[in-house]
């Protein structure tokens, strides 16, 4: 019975993977079973590694066609741009603090163990989260501004695009300066938060 289930899980991954797995309820099974989650992770890894080789903006016209010319396609574009960076950064930084996690499931199995037993070992450190947040912030801002630049009815990207097409350099650079200030300010807020977290860790 167990062997049959494992074969079914493996078939989920092999047959084009995630989509088929999700459709057949594989995701719920994957959440429940660590071995299946490890296989799912190995199936998704190449996708994450090569995600940014195709610009997400190519899907923006499709998103506009599906969701209409509103805020929704811009938000989806921002999320599509930022989520993989967030996932990769979380995985990498947690792996640095968690050697057995970085070695992957096979490495952990070879050492005769499953998930680490110590709670402090399992606890994700604060620094990986803040680094991932900074990446997500940059990618989300780029996604939204670029989406507005391509096709939108409002927003700073739209205004920059309008000024660019009208050869209005002063407006264009003024708006770009403002976007730069927004990005710097948002990053400064995250740096301050990261510094507070680090200081709290040193104190405790």
């Amino acid at each position: 019975m167990v062997g049959r289930r494992h074969r079914a899980d493996a078939a989920d991954i092999h047959h084009g993977g995630v989509g088929v797995g999700v459709q057949r309820g594989g995701w719920h099974r994957a959440r429940g079973r660590p071995a299946c989650r490890a296989r799912l992770r190995r199936a998704i890894d190449p996708l994450l590694a090569s995600y940014y080789s195709v610009p997400t903006f190519v899907f923006y016209p499709l998103l506009v066609a599906l969701l209409g010319l509103s805020m929704a396609p811009l938000v989806v574009l921002g999320v599509l741009s930022a989520v993989p960076a967030m996932v990769i950064s979380t995985l990498v930084r947690v792996g640095q603090h968690h050697p057995r996690a970085a070695q992957g499931g096979a490495g952990a199995a070879a050492r005769g163990g499953g998930a680490p037993s110590s709670p402090s070992c399992c606890r994700p450190p604060c620094r990986p989260c803040s680094a991932a947040f900074k990446l997500a912030l940059s990618y989300a801002l780029i996604g939204v501004i670029a989406g507005e630049f391509i096709l939108s009815g409002s927003g700073l990207g739209y205004a920059i695009s309008y000024a660019y097409q009208a050869f209005d350099n002063r407006t264009m650079y003024g708006l770009m300066l403002f976007v730069l200030l927004v990005a710097v300010l948002a990053n400064a807020v995250l740096y301050t938060w990261e510094g507070r977290l680090a200081r709290r860790r040193v104190r405790s």
Binding site: H6, P34, A35, R37, A38, R39, L40, R41, R42, I44, M71, V75, G78, V79, S81, A82, V83, P84, M86, V87, I88, S89, T90, L91, V94, G95, H98, G105, A108, G114, A115, C122, P124, C129, A132, F133, A136, Y139, A140, L141, V144, I145, S154, G155, L156, Y158, A159, N169, R170, T171, Y173, G174, L175, L177, F178, Y191, G195, A198, R199, R203
Partner: protein
């Protein structure tokens, strides 16, 4: 150790004088290119700052800012939550044994 961490945080927070030097160099380069192209390709920093100062006083500008910030904040929060959950979920997968 605490002092070292505080120094490191302070330096990364922008208190390092090298950042100010880099900023001055960038502004000088920007002004040089602006003067060289006579504002045709790129307007100089002084003109840009002055114009941006006037721009922020207009109501239309804040309408555009609000549209962008709303989409950006929503995208950031959604991607942070989804990315963190997926990343930590995949970390659990990596830490688990493979059969």
């Amino acid at each position: 150790m605490s002092a070292a961490v505080s120094r490191s945080i302070g330096r990364r927070g922008g208190n390092d004088p090298r950042y100010a030097g880099l900023l001055v160099v960038v502004l000088l380069l920007w002004q040089a290119v602006g003067s060289w192209t006579e504002g045709m390709a790129i307007t100089g920093p002084l003109t840009t700052f002055a114009y941006a100062g006037r721009l922020v006083l207009t109501a239309a500008f804040w309408g555009q800012v609000w549209a962008t910030l709303a989409a950006f904040l929503l995208a950031f929060v959604l991607s942070a939550v989804c990315g963190l959950l997926l990343g930590l979920g995949a970390r659990g997968a990596a830490a688990s044994p493979a059969t």
